[in-house]
């Protein structure tokens, strides 16, 4: 029998997940290993298709656990047999425990920031013109000098975008201050969606976090924010396999 693995938690009372239907409606149950427990359900296939129902089934179980503890989710599609799962839990025992310690009592909050990329590019171009008012860089010949000048402008433009993108990430972290215990940030300055941030927030700090985020949004109305959460701490499961 194969097992579909949803998440790992600290030890849970037997029967804690009996009422949580998992992938394809299969009943969830616990595999206890020392003071750790993996939440699983039985599957009769080696591979779980990526369908809306399956993805939502995975999320439903992990989210259900979030109401009673702080789970470390497995990535979607983790199908193992029981000896493999037990071996994983035993060989990664200390790193899983320290990761659970890191996220205990916390939830993940997600913030995506969208900026007006075309406007930022225009500003970069205007700055460049201000620095080169005589337009010397706009040589029309195809000389090596003109080529190198164009290359230099391209690199400088990308560098300015990168700076601006990183400044958004730094600014947001400063705004959120102590309400965030940890953060994972992905900055993509060449895209409209410039920043995807996951914030690890203690449950007791959620009100403070939301207030700080609200103030940040009001302060920068040229940016658009997409927020969601609370999530199980999916982005804070960095255990080396």
């Amino acid at each position: 029998m194969k097992l579909y693995a949803y998440c790992v938690t600290e030890e849970l009372p037997a029967g804690s997940v009996d009422s949580m239907p998992g992938i394809d409606g299969a009943q969830s149950f616990l595999i206890q290993s020392g003071n750790l427990a993996a939440v699983v359900s039985a599957v009769d296939v080696e591979r779980i298709d990526v369908t809306r129902e399956h993805v939502l089934g995975h999320e439903r179980v992990v989210r259900g656990l979030l109401s009673m503890t702080t789970p470390l989710p497995f990535r979607f599609g983790t199908v193992v047999d029981e000896p493999e799962l037990r071996s994983y839990l035993e060989s990664h025992h200390s790193s899983i425990l320290s990761q659970l310690e890191r996220v205990r009592g916390c939830v993940e909050m997600s913030v995506k920031v969208i900026w007006d990329l075309e406007r930022i590019k225009r500003e970069a171009s205007e700055m460049e013109e201000a620095e080169d008012p005589h337009g010397q860089h706009q040589a029309t010949n195809q000389s090596g000098t003109a080529f190198l000048a164009a290359k230099k402008r391209e690199i400088e433009g990308a560098s300015l975008l990168k700076e601006r993108g990183e400044a958004v990430a730094t600014w947001l972290m400063e705004c959120l201050g102590d309400s965030v215990r940890d953060a994972v940030m992905n900055v993509q300055p060449s895209q409209p969606l410039v920043l995807a941030a996951a914030h690890l927030v203690e449950r007791g700090q959620l009100e403070e976090y939301r207030a700080a985020l609200g103030s940040a949004r009001e302060a920068r109305n040229e940016l658009h924010f997409l927020t969601s959460g609370p999530w199980p701490p999916y982005s804070f499961t960095n255990i080396n396999s």
Binding site: V8, R47, V50, P73, R75, F76, E108, I114, W231, P232
Partner: protein, 78 residues
Amino acid sequence: MADEALELLEENELSLLETLDHVLNRGLVIAGEITISVADVDLIFLGLNVLLSSVESAQEAFGKRGARSVIDDLNRDK
């Protein structure tokens, strides 16, 4: 990007995209046992940027009708 379009994204698509991003792209991996791979693809960036582009294109194409009626049309076509 018009706020109207972004608000529609939030209503219609963000929740599912966020779920996909979290569930498919993150979480513990038991080496060798993951049966799907989306490594090196950040789904939320991929998905949202595609959506942002498609909504912008739709707005350009449909002009003054606005994003709401365009998305209503798209939903009717499904």
